[in-house]
């Protein structure tokens, strides 16, 4: 099942299985990827020609920018046999609302489930925060790398503990995302924050499809909205704005990723997620 087809690829149990990881020899691949993850953006690719340094500038160059975009999208979505782990080939994901993330932890994620330091935050903000969940074969890989192991929280979690921790992060304002790593193997749920999240950076600043919008979109009930504005700061995508003349919140559908975080702040039942495929104008827009 492909992403963006209106079907939820992340509800396919086969994509989480140890058998799949074994078949694709992913313990070796992921060990290589995670040992060198922080250097992903500074390594040269395309035959040693370019790195991601100043990627936004490079992508705007005429001709070269278009070739670069094509190559990078191919790397991100690569399913080829000779994928390169140190470029994190085949690593992309999708925003999921809390409900779907809970479903994944309850029924799908392969054990052991671990919660480790978010690498993006460490390398881009110098902040150590434990909010990144990994499963299955990847957990075993990360457990061997000291810099990802949290000091004051539990590393291995049972399903209930993982759900409780994720819910806390979600209500705190961090966007849940589910990841192929590499496609079609699924082994991580992150609690992301823009702009330090590597995936959201590439998507929001450079238009690269590393993170897809959720299978949902937000709908605001203008009759219920009391204009308290509490939802506005919950949105990491700039999709919500308070209108002083209408005395209510406005939604920019094109910016909404369907993460559902704004709902946590609403006391008036004015915000609901609807399936993206059933939202006129948003169908097929991921």
């Amino acid at each position: 099942m492909k992403h963006g087809a209106g079907g939820k690829w992340y509800l396919n149990a086969k994509n989480y299985s140890n058998e799949l990881a074994k078949e694709l020899d992913l313990e070796r691949y992921l060990t290589e990827q995670w040992r060198f993850f922080e250097t992903l953006y500074i390594r040269k690719f395309m035959g040693g020609l370019v790195s991601s340094s100043g990627l936004g500038y490079k992508l705007r160059l005429p001709i070269i920018g278009r070739v670069l975009r094509y190559e990078v999208e191919n790397m991100i979505h690569s399913e080829s046999k000779n994928r390169n782990p140190i470029r994190a080939d085949g690593h992309f994901g999708q925003v999921v609302p809390l409900e779907d993330a809970k479903l994944i932890f309850a029924n799908l994620a392969a054990e052991p489930i671990i919660e480790n330091y978010c690498m993006c935050r460490v390398m881009q903000k110098g902040v150590k925060e434990v909010c990144c969940f990994n499963f299955g074969v990847l957990s075993g890989v990360i457990e061997k790398l000291p810099r990802f192991i949290p000091k004051n929280t539990k590393l291995r979690l049972d399903r209930e503990e993982a759900i409780a921790r994720l819910e806390k992060h979600n209500r705190d304002g961090k966007v849940a995302t589910i990841w192929f790593q590499p496609v079609p193997y699924i082994n991580a749920i992150c609690s992301c924050e823009t702009p330090q999240c590597g995936g959201l950076r590439l998507r929001n600043d450079f238009g690269l499809n590393v993170v897809y919008k959720a299978e949902y979109a937000i709908r605001l009930d203008p009759d219920n909205c009391q204009g308290c504005k509490l939802c506005v700061p919950m949105c990491q995508f700039g999709a919500l704005r308070y209108s002083p003349s209408l005395k209510r919140v406005l939604v920019d559908d094109t910016k909404c990723f369907g993460c559902g975080l704004c709902r946590h702040a609403c006391k008036f039942d004015a915000l609901r997620l609807v399936p993206r495929e059933e939202a006129p104008g948003l169908k097929g827009q991921y």
Partner: protein, 83 residues
């Protein structure tokens, strides 16, 4: 608009010569757009399991808004931003 040039003096910070950026991180923290990246230094022999030599690079320099907060925040005065 001219390209922004951000340089980091690795004799003052990183690469195992200056202070360890993993113990400081002030420039990373102060940059609202998250231009900078802290990563293990390439090209030096490192323990692949637990690398100890790190540096900061101005990765997303095209997004820099020239606020100069990193320049001011750096206790080593290792960062310069020019255009």
């Amino acid at each position: 608009m001219p390209r922004t040039k951000i340089t980091i003096d690795y004799s003052k910070c990183g690469d195992g010569v200056g202070i360890d950026p993993r113990n400081c991180g002030k420039c990373l923290n102060v940059c609202d757009v998250a231009v900078l990246l802290c990563h293990e230094t390439l090209g030096v022999p490192q323990d692949p399991i637990d690398p100890q030599t790190w540096r900061v690079s101005a990765l997303w320099w095209d997004l820099c808004n020239r606020c100069m907060k990193c320049v001011e925040a750096c206790p080593q005065r290792a960062i310069t931003v020019s255009w």
